[in-house]
Symmetry: C2
Subunit: 322 residues, 2 copies
């Protein structure tokens, strides 16, 4: 396991670097990816990037001016990737050879020989900012925007419990380096389409409370997207409010993917551990946010399976904690 300065030392000796994040990338994956690519290029290094999924329109600004050069990678590193399973076709693309992993997930699976993993970081982008400073890279406005985006999106704009004093200080540094926090916050958190509000209405109308109001569940079949016109991230944001309802400790969303695959996504409040519930079903994640795939089930079966898993967890927890 490397420290920040050891990771910087390693990178100083590298060139022709390919940086990869996980598929279905979020703001932290892309903020970390483009922040690091920009930083390495500012040092005169050749660096390209790859993600198995297209960059969502919401985060397109991060990729602006960071075209790939088509280099043949001498070194491959991942950012914000907890498990090689999350790389999609990037695993083949890297020739199955990842040299370095930079990640903040407590569930990180050691798939790379060299790793800098800091679960106490609210976002991988926190680590990227520290790394850019350690490297003496150019802390440009674009790099600052990228890091701010990663930190802000992974902390719910500094609301979540993963936010520390350091998180706020690093975000302050990014702002002072030129990150357009006000505009980015409005773009990322304060702008909602009418489709979002339709998704929210669906959530309010269809949600099911159980476990005596401690758990709330919403089903999102493919038809939901057609009816509301909501994108997946809009739907996620709408149903993310389930656990905000007074008394609700577990918010569960059952999603039907375009390929028919059924996935469950959990958002919990302390003391409930979302990852502990999802691990029983072969999934994982963080204490407050986790997910799992419910292979071979239809929506109704997935619904009952998640209800049972949630009831069992809460029953055991109450037995253990009175």
């Amino acid at each position: 396991m490397l420290a920040c300065n050891e990771t910087a030392a390693l990178l100083r000796g590298w060139d022709d670097i390919l940086i990869i994040c996980h598929e279905n990338p979020d703001g932290d994956a892309l903020g970390s990816l483009f922040g690091l690519v920009r930083g390495l290029r500012s040092m005169g290094k050749r660096a390209d990037w790859y993600c198995a999924s297209p960059v969502p329109e919401k985060f397109a600004y991060l990729a602006q001016g960071v075209e790939n050069t088509g280099l043949t990678p001498a070194h491959v590193l991942t950012v914000d990737v907890a498990d090689q399973k999350l790389l999609g076709d990037a695993w083949e693309k890297s020739g199955g050879k990842i040299d370095l992993a930079i990640d903040h997930h407590g569930t990180h699976k050691a798939f790379a020989p060299a790793r800098w993993v800091e679960p106490e970081s609210a976002a991988t982008a926190e680590m990227i900012w520290l790394l850019l400073k350690e490297l003496g890279a150019d802390l440009s406005r674009e790099a600052a925007d990228a890091v701010y985006t990663g930190i802000a999106t992974d902390t719910g704009c500094f609301r979540f419990r993963n936010t520390t004093g350091r998180t706020l200080r690093l975000a302050a540094e990014a702002m002072e380096a030129g990150a357009r926090a006000g505009e980015l916050n409005r773009h990322l958190f304060e702008t909602k389409s009418l489709a979002y509000f339709l998704a929210e209405r669906h959530m309010l109308e269809s949600m099911e409370l159980f476990c005596g109001g401690k758990a709330a569940m919403v089903l999102l079949p493919q038809s939901f997207y057609a009816e509301t016109g909501a994108r997946e991230d809009e739907a996620d944001a709408a149903v993310g409010q389930l656990r905000q309802i007074e008394g609700v400790l577990v918010g569960i969303t059952i999603k039907e993917r375009p390929n028919g695959e059924i996935k469950a996504s959990l958002r919990t409040n302390p003391p409930v551990n979302a990852s502990a519930i999802c691990e029983r079903l072969g999934g994982g994640g963080h204490a407050g946010a986790a997910g799992c795939t419910l292979a071979g089930m239809d929506m109704a079966q997935a619904r009952e399976t998640m209800k049972a898993a949630c009831q069992a967890y809460l029953a055991e927890w109450e037995e253990a904690n009175g």
Copy 2:
């Protein structure tokens, strides 16, 4: 106009201090009030507090253990008060004699002989934290909770444009002094009653878009509160989302008060200046949040008056800025 160190010097020479905030207090008013009372008491000074309105249940934790002693004030100061009109009966209570005003409103009316006014502060609580440090007061967990509450509530938990690098650094200091940011954020921002969601549904169903989708308006008659069971702050939070709808620059709420008085509350996005619109109608506030009282009007008249004021402002703005 005083600076922080001059304000501290003044307070060092004082004792038997009464601290007052505005009526219908928000998190910044109460966070600043109780943060300062606790700080002054930690220095061995006698300090009491007064607010013309009861402390909302949501902020009751700030007042815990800060009972008044019934002292006869030798000095009176206000925190977060932009205009003596906002003091309610506290004006009489102070004998019409306010010695010092500490405030962050750009619209501050100079009603006290000594003033420390810092419009660049996102919250008055930012100034209170600087003042407590300048005074060498005890930065207790309770004082830190109070200051964090003020900063977080006045910045929408660091989302609004008033948030600066300093805002984040001072919040980090409060967290490191023991402010329970995670718990407070959940309490202040992440916990919503079912009544809140009913208020949100009312907002989604009844909102009116005009000025080509640049403005959105919701009416909140007294009957609304009876039907949803929502408190005023819950209703405010729900309708506060109006300006989050893509393309909306002005979110307007017309409220009927229990006494029948009609008030308009505006939340705007740049470049629209909420205060400029409300000042035409005898009100005021900040660029992004302002209000006015529509004396002698019913809801329908208030609705048309606000629409006209809003249309006139936007027309002039477009003429001026192409």
